[in-house]
């Protein structure tokens, strides 16, 4: 069984690979990486843990031609994957890139999976017009049908049983991204709540998060990171809405959760997923939240925006 994975012409080729077993996984990706490297593309393989090790062994002879990233670490927060991958592509300065990205694996929580699905959908917009081939493996034998359905909606091209065909569920980048802009679960009644409207209250916002983090036994470093992330979101609320916002904080199993609700509308679905140069101003709040937190979920409508941050309290939670 051989699969021709190379699309005609340049520009983005974003494909989901539904693989049945480890042998098919290894065979298809091995061929994809070797073909890409041979054609002069810059290659990034970003898959989780043990799978990464197997691919590294299989592709060892390609040496520096392939960059490997453990997505179980770098992509624990799926919102962090796109900035990293875009930074990799930017660093190639126009050279074609080939990327193997596997953000979805068994054991991901439903909340993480929602952000993974959104990430996959946003790849189409983020890489629009770029010279890139992106192959996203899905373990069809193990993953739930809902996850495979999300993948069919987010990828223009599907590969199943060695056959490459356009996805009948994919329409365009904007529609795909909008489909994953889903309402967040309700805030529990026991959440601690603080409203804020002015810059004079930022210090109080930070103090509030710091105290909640201490009460939830968050490690000091994680607490500082969460305070910084919430502060940036609160600054965005104050800067971009006239009406202030509401901060809710509550513990869930193994994590502390913060949600900022305001009356703003995030019109750019890629907000928080595009890397920035040190010299450019503004537009970093959400990116920073993605870099600092374990999970960032966003739901935005013209009536308002909700941004939820997760910070895990123990090393055990991955």
């Amino acid at each position: 069984m051989t699969v021709d994975l190379t699309a005609a012409g340049s520009s983005l080729d974003h494909q989901a690979l539904f693989y049945a077993d480890p042998d098919e996984y290894l065979m298809v990706i091995d061929a994809f990486v070797r073909a890409a490297a041979a054609s002069g593309s810059a290659v990034l393989v970003a898959v989780p843990g043990k799978k990464l090790v197997r691919l590294q062994e299989a592709l060892a002879e390609l040496g520096d031609a392939v960059r490997f990233t453990d997505l179980a670490v770098a992509g624990r927060n799926p919102g962090r994957i796109l900035p990293d991958v875009l930074a990799f592509a930017d660093a190639q300065r126009g050279r074609r890139v080939a990327i193997v990205g596997e953000p979805v694996w068994p054991g991901r929580s439903d909340l993480e999976l929602a952000v993974c699905a959104q990430h996959e959908a946003l790849v189409n917009a983020a890489f629009a017009g770029r010279d890139a081939t992106i192959l996203c493996p899905y373990d069809a034998g193990v993953l739930q049908e809902a996850q495979l359905r999300d993948a069919r909606h987010a990828h223009p091209v599907l590969i199943t049983g060695g056959v490459r065909r356009p996805s009948p569920f994919y329409t365009d980048a904007v529609t795909a991204a909008a489909a994953f802009n889903r309402p967040l679960p309700v805030i529990p009644a026991w959440a601690a709540v603080l409203t804020f409207a002015t810059v004079a209250e930022l210090s109080a916002v930070r103090g509030f998060v710091g105290r909640q983090a201490a009460a939830a036994d968050l490690a000091p470093d994680a607490a500082e990171d969460l305070v910084a992330a919430v502060n940036e979101l609160a600054e965005n609320t104050i800067l971009h809405t006239g009406a202030g916002g509401t901060l809710s904080v509550w513990p869930e199993d193994g994590r502390l959760v913060c949600q900022v609700d305001d009356t703003g509308h995030l019109t750019d679905p890629l907000a928080g997923r595009i890397p920035r140069l040190p010299t450019s101003e503004g537009g970093r709040g959400l990116l920073l939240a993605n870099q600092l937190c374990d999970l960032v979920r966003i739901h935005t409508t013209p009536a308002g925006t909700s941004i939820r941050l997760h910070m895990n309290s123990g090393a055990a939670v991955q």
């Binding site: 810059v199 004079a200 500082e224 990171d225 502060n231 800067l239 040190p278």
Partner: protein, 288 residues
């Protein structure tokens, strides 16, 4: 009388004091003047000398005849000072501050304390739209650590958004009241040995324009040519992402070698996430 914010101010402070009550504003100005006279500072207040102000000065125990006669206190109306030319000129006003600072030092005072009733800027004065730029840039003078400044703003006279913009150009903002008691949020003092600046307090959106203006000009405002600059952040309790970027300005924009010393873990992490590892000539030292 209990101590107020005005007794806790130190040279280098620049406070935006927002109120909405004529009596409280006059009382605040009187307390501010009194605190300066007690600290052997020269005190200059730019504003109209109203009957209400005289009353509050008398109530605060300030002998204005004495203080004005000795030259320690001056009360000057805006028309005689920064609006004398008929328009507000930020650069000329900032240059005048530098001159006043030199005169005050030469006269042997321990500091210069200035206050301004900013109500004039709500009137249709040519150049009043440059006030935000001025309030940010004038921090470069105050960072010498000789001048203490409080700008009295009446929220009834300024649109909300404009007042927010103006307050962010001050390192500290307080709300007028019977006892305005918050400590200044951010302090910025340039240092001579080593050349650079010492920051303390918290830097966020509330003082973003102030920190940006001072850091962007730090290389220009440091006399000693092209040597390395030191930003001392031992006492900087918080810096948001923008503030972290401003700290790197002398290296990023002026190409000066730069040491950031006394970095907390949180600030170091913030600097890293803002790209500090890729800035040539930047050394970040963590020791707390």
């Amino acid at each position: 009388m209990a101590t107020t914010l005005f007794d806790r101010l130190r040279p280098g402070d620049h406070v935006c004091l927002i109120g909405d009550d004529d009596v409280l504003q006059a009382r605040g100005i009187a307390q501010y003047i009194r605190a300066g006279l007690r600290e052997r500072q020269r005190v200059v207040f730019y504003g109209d000398r109203t009957g209400l102000l005289d009353q509050e000065l008398a109530a605060a125990g300030v002998d204005t005849g004495d203080a004005c006669g000795s030259g320690q206190l001056q009360i000057i109306s805006p028309g005689e000072s920064y609006l004398a030319s008929g328009r507000f000129d930020p650069d000329a006003t900032i240059a005048a501050w530098r001159t006043e600072e030199a005169i005050t030092r030469a006269a042997g005072f321990d500091g210069l304390r200035v206050g301004g009733d900013m109500g004039w800027a709500a009137r249709p004065v040519p150049g009043a739209d440059l006030l935000g730029h001025y309030e940010a840039q004038v921090n470069r003078v105050f960072a010498d650590g000789f001048v203490t400044a409080v700008c009295f703003y009446d929220r009834r006279l300024f649109p909300h958004a404009e007042l927010r913009h103006l307050s962010c150009a001050h390192p500290a903002t307080a709300t007028a009241g019977p006892e305005p008691d918050t400590a200044p949020q951010l302090r910025m003092l340039r240092t001579v040995d080593p050349p650079g600046i010492r920051l303390s307090g918290e830097a966020d959106l509330a003082n973003r324009a102030a920190l940006s203006a001072v850091m962007r000009a730090l290389a220009d405002d440091t006399p000693d040519g092209s040597g390395p600059l030191t930003v001392d952040v031992h006492e900087l309790r918080y810096a948001d992402a923008s503030a972290a970027r401003f700290l790197m300005y002398p290296a990023v924009h002026a190409g000066r070698p730069l040491r950031v010393v006394g970095c907390s873990r949180a600030l170091r992490r913030m600097l890293t996430l803002q790209g500090s590892d890729g800035v040539p000539g930047l050394l970040v030292e963590t020791d707390r």
